[in-house]
């Protein structure tokens, strides 16, 4: 145990560098994925046939491909089409694209779960679709969507470890490098796991608070 604490003191500063990168990757891709997810959901519920269909095909394609493959594709294949991204950028874009599809489906389900009577009430006072979405449907859909969205958030945080395969030096990558140079697998990966928990547990807790707060305002 004293060994563990002593080596932890040496490893932690190195691993913390990875933690910051993990947080950066997660926040950036979450922001992008949320924005894109909202767009996909609006397209799919737009009632414009070809737009809904095109979005659906895109979403099904991306959802059907493993994240690793999406990352490889963006990092190694896209340069051939002239899109040359750094590993960090490719990681963020890959995660964002994949999660935009999950989040988009969540949002779509939320929008469709809003009572049809709400749409009719909004129309009956003369609202046009954009205002109706903004003022009536989306605020209610967001409330429905908070729990599954929180779930996606935590999964995204954990899946950010996948970008290590394209050499983004986030937490998992730092751990792997540290372990292979010290052979102290047990200490290093225990620390890595604990550091992830330090991120996910408060996140879960915070989202639970948000759920309660939104529920009570209803």
């Amino acid at each position: 145990m004293t060994d563990f604490i002593a080596s932890a003191g040496v490893y932690l500063p190195i691993l913390l560098k990875g933690v910051w990168l993990t947080i950066a990757v997660t926040l950036l891709s979450l922001g992008l994925a949320t924005l894109l997810g909202l767009i996909w959901a609006l397209f799919r519920t737009s009632g414009i046939r070809w737009l809904a269909l095109a979005t659906r095909i895109f979403v099904e394609f991306v959802r059907g491909v493993p994240i690793l493959v999406v990352l490889f594709y963006i990092y190694f294949v896209m340069p051939e089409f002239g899109l040359d991204l750094t590993a960090f950028q490719a990681g963020v874009v890959g995660l964002a694209l994949t999660y935009s599809c999950y989040i988009g489906e969540t949002f779509r389900a939320g929008i469709e779960a809003v009572d049809k009577g709400q749409v009719e009430a909004a129309k009956s006072i003369g609202m046009k679709t954009p205002m109706m979405m903004r003022r009536v449907v989306l605020p209610q859909a967001f409330r429905i969507v908070v729990p599954p969205y929180a779930n996606n958030m935590v999964m995204l945080l954990k899946d950010s470890s996948q970008v290590s395969v394209i050499s983004v030096a986030e937490l998992t990558m730092q751990g792997k490098m540290l372990a292979s140079s010290t052979f102290d697998n047990m200490t290093v990966f225990t620390l890595v796991a604990l550091l992830y928990l330090c991120l996910t547990i408060p996140l879960n807790f915070a989202m639970r608070r948000v759920e309660v707060a939104m529920g009570s305002a209803k």
Binding site: A121, K123, S124, I125, G126, R135
Partner: protein, 243 residues
């Protein structure tokens, strides 16, 4: 001001409206009665463009109601609707529900919209519920907020779609009272209802719809007291003497 000419409407193969003609003049209160499935609600919803119709013509102030036209939003601000299940916005308080249209659709100033909303809620007897969320209100109170919301648009007419059908019996009266007051102020109203007594006392005329057609129409007293049509007689007997 609302005119229906040979209106036909089908859901798939099922023809719900089979050629309806009617006219509602300004200041008139017209009750639309008939058995369930006769197309009453559908007819009402067509007038507000919540449903499309296949042929014939519905017009408001001479302007054709056409869901595909951008003018539909403008027509809806002139013809308000009160729903069976209230459809208040659950994430907004009573007064916010009432202000929503004037503030964001009619683009009125916050202060004047609020003042007007307050007056309307006082008028429907809810001066102590301004900041209550719909979930904290009874059915009768919610429906009165919904009426205030419709009135806030300063509409030329209000359509009521079975406004008391989803209410507990003891709350029906408070809603009908508000509607009666509106009728006395000569608001143009088209009311789908099963409240025969209300129709008899408040309506100027009654339309009896059966199987997608208007089978009888006339002054409320006449149609409801001495119906000529057999279907109307049968319906009224069953509604007024259910046991």
């Amino acid at each position: 001001m609302i005119k229906l000419e040979d209106v036909h409407k089908s859901f798939g193969d099922h023809e719900v409206l089979k050629g309806v003609d009617a006219e509602i003049d300004k200041g008139q209160v017209v009750c639309l009665i008939g058995p369930s499935g006769s197309g009453k609600s559908t007819l009402l919803r067509c007038i507000n463009g919540l449903e499309t119709y296949q042929s014939g013509q519905i017009s408001v102030d001479g302007e054709r109601v056409d869901v595909a036209s951008p003018r539909i939003h403008d027509i809806r601000t002139r013809v308000s609707m009160v729903f069976q299940r209230f459809n208040l916005f659950p994430h907004r308080t009573a007064i916010e529900n009432v202000m929503e249209g004037p503030r964001y659709v009619l683009k009125q100033e916050q202060a004047s919209a609020r003042q007007k909303a307050e007056q309307l809620l006082v008028r429907v007897g809810l001066e102590d519920k301004l900041d209550a969320y719909p979930s904290a209100l009874s059915g009768g109170q919610q429906q009165r907020v919904a009426i205030a919301r419709a009135l806030a648009m300063e509409p030329e007419a209000i359509l009521f779609d079975e406004p008391t059908s989803a209410l507990d019996p003891e709350m029906v009266g408070e809603v009908l009272q508000v509607m009666r007051a509106l009728a006395e102020e000569h608001m143009t109203m088209l009311v789908v209802t099963h409240e025969i007594l209300f129709a008899r006392e408040v309506a100027d005329s009654v339309l009896f719809l059966d199987g997608g057609r208007i089978v009888e129409e006339g002054p409320a007293g006449e149609v409801l007291r001495q119906p000529k049509n057999e279907r109307t007689q049968d319906f009224l007997r069953r509604v007024t003497h259910p046991v």
